[in-house]
């Protein structure tokens, strides 16, 4: 009994340590974003909102935030639409080259980002569309569509295979069945896939840095700020980015989980 309890506490401590390792750097970044000292040292200086003010008054940061928002929302829309279409194709049809089709779709996340970024840059330059906001959106959509596809495919696999045919049987044509049955059934997956792809795009640095040209996104501008000098501004921006990503990820999780609970 005592042994069991000791073991439980040990395991609990281990779990706590894991969380500390993961979140301590982020936590410190948040703490230092409110610290008046220029250098991140302990003991801390006074509480201040100075760094947030600097960021707030920096037009470059505003510009980057606007670009990031445009990119992540557009990416999320395109990637989710693409992901839904590919997942539905996989669900609905069987064809000879399907393993290859699935393999190709799921390929992008396995390519090292730096390679992908370089390839994208070269390709966009050839097409004459590099250095535009659109180029970041295209590149991010390619990168994140597989995630969207995976989430929606999982949801479709939980669907009673008779459901769509039941809609046809009751008089729905293919489009009505899609709109009235498939999409509503996949709604939780669509929402969470939208949030996750938006979060991935919002955080993504390597590809953005290569293809963005003058249209810097938030991660790109962070690198520019920290290059050559230590500026607690980045802590402020970092905290903000963390907040946005976490919110999106948590929404995605909650939407998926409440739905599952309700159906069981």
């Amino acid at each position: 009994m005592t042994d069991n309890r000791t073991l439980r506490w040990l395991l609990f401590g281990y779990l706590a340590l894991v969380f500390v390792f993961i979140f301590a750097p982020i936590l410190f970044s948040v703490i230092f974003s409110f610290n008046s000292d220029r250098f991140p040292t302990i003991p801390l200086g006074n509480f201040t909102l100075k760094w947030y003010q600097t960021v707030w008054n920096d037009p470059d940061v505003w510009e980057a935030a606007r670009t990031s928002l445009t990119v992540s929302l557009s990416t999320a829309t395109i990637a989710t639409a693409l992901g839904f279409a590919t997942a539905y194709t996989d669900y609905r049809y069987s064809f000879r080259l399907k393993p290859i089709y699935l393999g190709l779709i799921l390929l992008p996340p396995t390519i090292p980002l730096i390679i992908m970024a370089l390839a994208m840059l070269a390709w966009f330059a050839k097409l004459g569309i590099s250095g535009q906001v659109m180029s970041i959106i295209i590149a991010h959509s390619v990168l994140t569509a597989p995630f969207a596809m995976a989430i929606i495919r999982l949801r479709l696999s939980q669907m009673d295979p008779s459901l769509e045919a039941a809609a046809w049987n009751l008089g729905a044509n293919e489009w009505s069945a899609m709109r009235r049955v498939i999409v509503p059934f996949c709604k939780p997956a669509i929402i969470s896939s939208f949030c996750l792809t938006a979060a991935v795009s919002f955080d993504e640095f390597a590809i953005s840095w290569f293809v963005s040209g003058l249209n810097k996104t938030i991660p790109v501008i962070i690198l520019e700020i920290v290059t050559g000098n230590i500026d607690p501004q980045v802590n402020a921006i970092g905290s903000f980015v963390f907040l946005v990503s976490m919110t999106l990820v948590i929404i995605a999780q909650v939407v998926l989980m409440t739905r599952r609970k309700k159906e069981n």
């Binding site: 009673d160 008779s162 459901l163 045919a165 039941a166 809609a167 046809w168 049987n169 009751l170 008089g171 729905a172 044509n173 009505s176 069945a177 009235r180 049955v181 509503p184 059934f185 709604k187 309700k262 159906e263």
Partner: protein, 362 residues
């Protein structure tokens, strides 16, 4: 003569190399309750799905009201199906599920609601109208599924093993709900099942399928009392199938001699076999009798008792003949209690000759 509501004309359905339905011909009249029965993989569900337009026949034609339906898409047919899995829309309430088919037919919102509630009321689940599907019990879901199909006022309702997920008591209740509905509405029910009790309890006519073919079509009594062939006799169960070589034929009878003895049966609707053919006949377990003393009339097989199965008022005795074959007799418990079988060494299975039913040669 009125044209049948549904007609299958030499319908074949192939999936790649697999032939699911092979040369099926039959008709269904308006207002009939037809059960299509057979073991799994016999093609019964495929037949039903072709009727609903969810599968296209590879060959042949399916007609409804004299019109060839082969190229009519599923959503343009009024052939609602009650699914084995029910396939209710989980993101809609009971009422919204029932409204679905009406909405697809362009019925206005108020009218949809009125008719959906009317049907939910008729199925005695009005109080659950605004509940999520997941919060309903199996029987309640069943009723929603029925309401969803019937609300569009079809002339034919297709049912694909709809009761297979329910427990035994509920099955009996739903059977009476279904037969009552069918009578009240006067529409055609086509009911696919592997359960003999469901088919026999409800259907006017039963179609027995085996490996894509139709083995027999007839009333439940026909199929029970006069199985057309060995497959049906075995599938229906509780039959003693006795085989042997044909030793004598007359215009109406055939004499079959096998390891159990020599028996003479009527050929009935079958062609007369030739001498030397391997032929079979059936003695239904409930038409046979047992005796402790050797009976003087009818056909007799001496046996020993192996076991008995007691189901309330009916008892099934399992007997073994001298050649090792197993035979069955079904008796009323009160008849059995008059006999002292336990102490008897030999039990005589016996039946009146007219109860032997010839099922043809192999």
């Amino acid at each position: 003569m009125v044209a049948p509501l549904v007609e299958f004309r030499s319908v074949v359905k192939r999936f790649d190399d697999f032939v699911a339905v092979e040369d099926v011909n039959f008709t269904i009249d308006a207002g009939e309750f037809v059960a299509i029965m057979g073991p799994s993989g016999c093609g019964k569900t495929t037949t039903l799905r072709m009727l609903a337009g969810l599968e296209a026949p590879s060959e042949g034609e399916i007609l409804m009201d004299g019109r060839v339906m082969n190229d009519v898409p599923a959503h343009e047919r009024d052939t609602p199906l009650v699914w084995q899995s029910l396939a209710l829309f989980p993101f809609l309430t009971a009422r919204e599920n029932v409204e679905f088919g009406l909405q697809m037919r362009g019925v206005g919102a108020a009218e949809c609601r009125r008719r959906a509630l009317e049907w939910l009321d008729r199925m005695e689940i009005l109080e659950f109208a605004d509940r999520d599907i997941s919060s309903l019990s199996g029987g309640q879901k069943q009723r929603v599924a029925l309401a969803r199909s019937l609300v569009i006022e079809p002339r034919i309702l297709l049912l694909d093993e709809p009761l297979s997920a329910l427990d035994a008591n509920l099955v009996i209740r739903m059977q009476s709900v279904l037969t009552r509905l069918q009578r009240e509405l006067g529409i055609t029910f086509v009911y696919v099942t592997h359960s003999q009790s469901e088919a026999f309890a409800m259907a006017d006519r039963v179609v027995i399928m085996s490996r894509g073919h139709i083995s027999q079509i007839g009333s439940p009594k026909d199929i029970y009392r006069a199985p057309a062939n060995r497959f049906v006799a075995e599938f229906v169960g509780r039959n003693n199938i006795i085989s042997g070589t044909v030793t004598k034929t007359t215009a109406k009878t055939v004499t079959i001699e096998g390891s159990l003895g020599s028996f003479t049966v009527q050929t009935g609707r079958h062609d007369a076999p030739r001498k030397g053919d391997l032929a079979r006949f059936v003695v239904a377990a409930d038409l046979a009798q047992v005796a402790v003393k050797q009976p003087k009339s009818g056909s007799v097989i001496p046996c020993t008792l192996i076991s008995e199965e007691f189901i309330g008022s009916v008892v099934t005795l399992f007997l073994e003949a001298a050649d090792g074959s197993e035979l069955k007799v079904q008796l009323q418990e009160r008849e059995l209690s008059k006999m002292d079988l336990k102490s008897a060494t030999t039990i005589y299975l016996n039946w009146a000759d007219e109860h032997g039913h010839y099922i043809g040669v192999d």
